[in-house]
């Protein structure tokens, strides 16, 4: 393991760099939404997971302190991609189509939200 780091050829993208890479189907209409209050853009037909990971490097922080998470199975089985909305809602990102109204937070906010 001593020389592991030195043998990595490519420079890893920054933590916030998008995780996924879009390969096609770029003709679709854009959808504007927000991530942690910042504007972001996706395309109609993107899942929320796709929309988030084309704009960011993770979906959420593990609630048990072991670091960021970005989903795993994309088929609604692993439950790794549940994200919070600003109003305290919960969405499974891999099965939710991105919507213009969505305001997603990737950092754990106080719960429950008190209005």
């Amino acid at each position: 393991m001593a020389d592991a780091g030195s043998r990595i050829m490519t420079t890893p993208p920054a933590a916030t760099a998008p995780l996924l890479r879009r390969l096609g189907e770029t003709h679709r209409a854009p959808v504007a939404f927000t991530i942690d209050g910042q504007p972001a853009t996706a395309l109609e037909g993107d899942t929320l997971l796709t929309a988030l990971l084309l704009n960011a490097g993770a979906l959420r922080q593990s609630e048990f302190g072991d670091g960021p998470r970005a989903g795993f199975c994309l088929m609604g089985a692993c439950q790794d991609c549940w994200v919070w909305t600003e109003d305290g809602g919960r969405l499974r990102a891999c099965g939710t189509p991105v919507q213009p109204s969505l305001r997603i937070v990737t950092r754990e906010a106080p719960w429950p939200p008190l209005g």
């Binding site: 393991m1 592991a4 043998r7 990595i8 050829m9 490519t10 890893p12 993208p13 920054a14 933590a15 995780l19 996924l20 890479r21 879009r22 390969l23 096609g24 189907e25 003709h27 679709r28 109609e44 037909g45 993107d46 899942t47 796709t50 990971l53 084309l54 490097g57 993770a58 979906l59 593990s62 048990f64 302190g65 072991d66 670091g67 960021p68 998470r69 970005a70 989903g71 795993f72 199975c73 994309l74 088929m75 609604g76 089985a77 692993c78 439950q79 790794d80 549940w82 499974r92 099965g95 189509p97």
Partner: protein, 466 residues
């Protein structure tokens, strides 16, 4: 007499063929499916607005995929179709389903479970990092979203899906850093006699591998993976470390890894229905007991497709037909014309031979799993380490997985042990020095998947109060 109430759960290859046959027999089955459209995971459809053709999406299986979609779409009013609906429990002869905030109780005379499978996973150190996905996820990202899981992708694991997904990535223009197969180089020969049962499929596999070689993709067999490496900030995948023959380590740089070791059956509903399970030594997993047509041990329950036996998509179509014919027979209804049960059973047997061959050719590396380092997060939902699980099996004396779960929380999280249960049993078994079947399997607990507290029962009066 009222028409028998038959429910099919799952609208993939098995569920579609079962529904087709039940409808042809004059029943109007209810088809419950979590997807937005039929097809299951293997023939998953891209969302409206996407333009790629079937050949691009499904390759050599384009014909099968489009035929299956057309069959399902053609059923129309001949079935009651409940898409985007979770089947979360079974109780008192009824299936409990939920869609958004509506919860319903659907009584049945026969329930045909065709819920498919998910990737069987090894919880390698680093598998929770952003950029680490299941093989199935890598395929779904491509098929349903036209995305690659990263810019430079390693595929790691074993089984046909490993090579299929890698070749699909190459065709789509993604950069594949390597295909790392944990199967020993000689294993394929062991599987060959059984796999020869389906020569055409074997040939397809050879073509895939040849394509990958021509594309210059690094392919290794007999790989012993050590961990998925993180970048300096610890926030995403930067490589995969594998053991070298001299006892050292080699790192293959990448920004994403797709991992999977064959599939595991989605068998929770069968469990909740009270079906008996047996340990299948070939695939080293517990499977619900079923006869050759798919009758489970619990009355009125039928199993088809990968949720019962991992036979692949075309095997699932056959199993769906056989299970539907069994439903009709048990209900005393005539089968639609042109159904040759004996021929279907023979085909299914051939596919089962192939399945056993695959298990030999692409074996589950049980020893690797058993020796995962203590600091490995085995249960990704609850962030429980292999060390904590081992401690529950040794120091706390848990003899099997459910007790180990109670002590350590392994398998207690949102995914209900789907991704750690099989590996966890290997770890418990090794820690106690017993065969893996003695370590048992995690019992299914409702809900099958997370159920919203916002769900409202259609008929609250069904409450059985004491």
């Amino acid at each position: 007499m009222a028409a028998p109430r038959v429910i099919v759960v799952g609208a993939g290859p098995a569920g579609t063929r079962a529904a087709e046959l039940l409808a042809a027999a004059g029943l109007r089955p209810t088809v419950v499916d979590e997807g937005r459209a039929s097809g299951g995971q293997i023939y998953r459809r891209q969302p409206p607005g996407f333009r790629r053709d079937a050949r691009t999406l499904y390759g050599t299986e384009a014909g099968r995929a489009t035929a299956l979609h057309a069959t399902f779409d053609g059923l129309g009013p001949a079935i009651e179709y409940l898409p985007e609906t979770l089947a979360w429990n079974i109780h008192g002869g009824a299936l409990y389903v939920q869609r958004e905030e509506r919860a319903r109780r659907l009584p049945f005379d026969a329930l045909l479970i065709a819920t498919g499978a998910t990737d069987r996973m090894i919880p390698l150190p680093g598998w929770t990092l952003p950029g680490a996905f299941s093989l199935g996820a890598a395929q779904i990202a491509l098929k349903a979203q036209a995305c690659a899981i990263g810019s430079r992708v390693v595929f790691l694991g074993t089984g046909p899906l490993l090579y299929l997904v890698a070749s699909q990535y190459v065709k789509a223009g993604a950069q594949v850093a390597a295909v790392l197969d944990t199967a020993p180089p000689g294993a394929r020969w062991k599987g060959l006699p059984l796999m020869a049962a389906r020569p055409a499929l074997l040939a397809k596999g050879a073509v895939l591998i040849a394509q990958l070689m021509r594309a210059g993709v690094t392919m290794r067999r007999g790989v012993v993976p050590r961990r998925v490496l993180a970048d300096a900030a610890g926030t995403r995948v930067a490589g995969v470390a594998i053991a070298t023959p001299d006892g050292g380590e080699e790192v293959i740089a990448c920004d994403a890894v797709g991992m999977g070791w064959h599939l595991r059956a989605e068998s929770q509903l069968a469990d909740l229905a009270g079906c008996a399970f047996d340990f299948d030594a070939d695939s080293r997993q517990w499977l619900p007991r079923a006869d050759e047509d798919g009758r489970a041990s619990a009355p009125g329950i039928y199993l088809a497709g990968d949720s019962a036996r991992i036979l692949g998509a075309d095997g699932a179509e056959i199993a769906g037909r056989l299970a539907a014919l069994a439903v009709l027979k048990d209900l005393g209804l005539p089968a639609p014309p042109g159904q040759d049960v004996a021929a279907l059973r023979r085909q299914r047997q051939v596919m089962d031979r192939f399945r056993r061959g695959l298990a030999l050719a692409f074996p589950w590396p049980a020893g690797l799993v058993a020796s995962l380092p203590d600091e490995t997060l085995v249960c990704r939902c609850e962030a429980i380490t292999a060390g904590a699980l081992r401690q529950s099996a040794t120091e706390l004396d848990a003899p099997e997985m459910n007790r180990a779960k109670a002590f350590s929380r392994t398998g207690m999280g949102r995914c209900q042990g789907r991704f750690c249960g099989i590996a966890g049993a290997e770890i418990v078994a090794a820690a106690r020095g017993v065969p893996v079947e003695v370590a048992g399997r995690l019992r299914g607990q409702a809900p099958v998947k997370p159920l919203p507290v916002a769900a409202l029962a259609d008929d609250a009066s069904t409450l059985e109060s004491t």
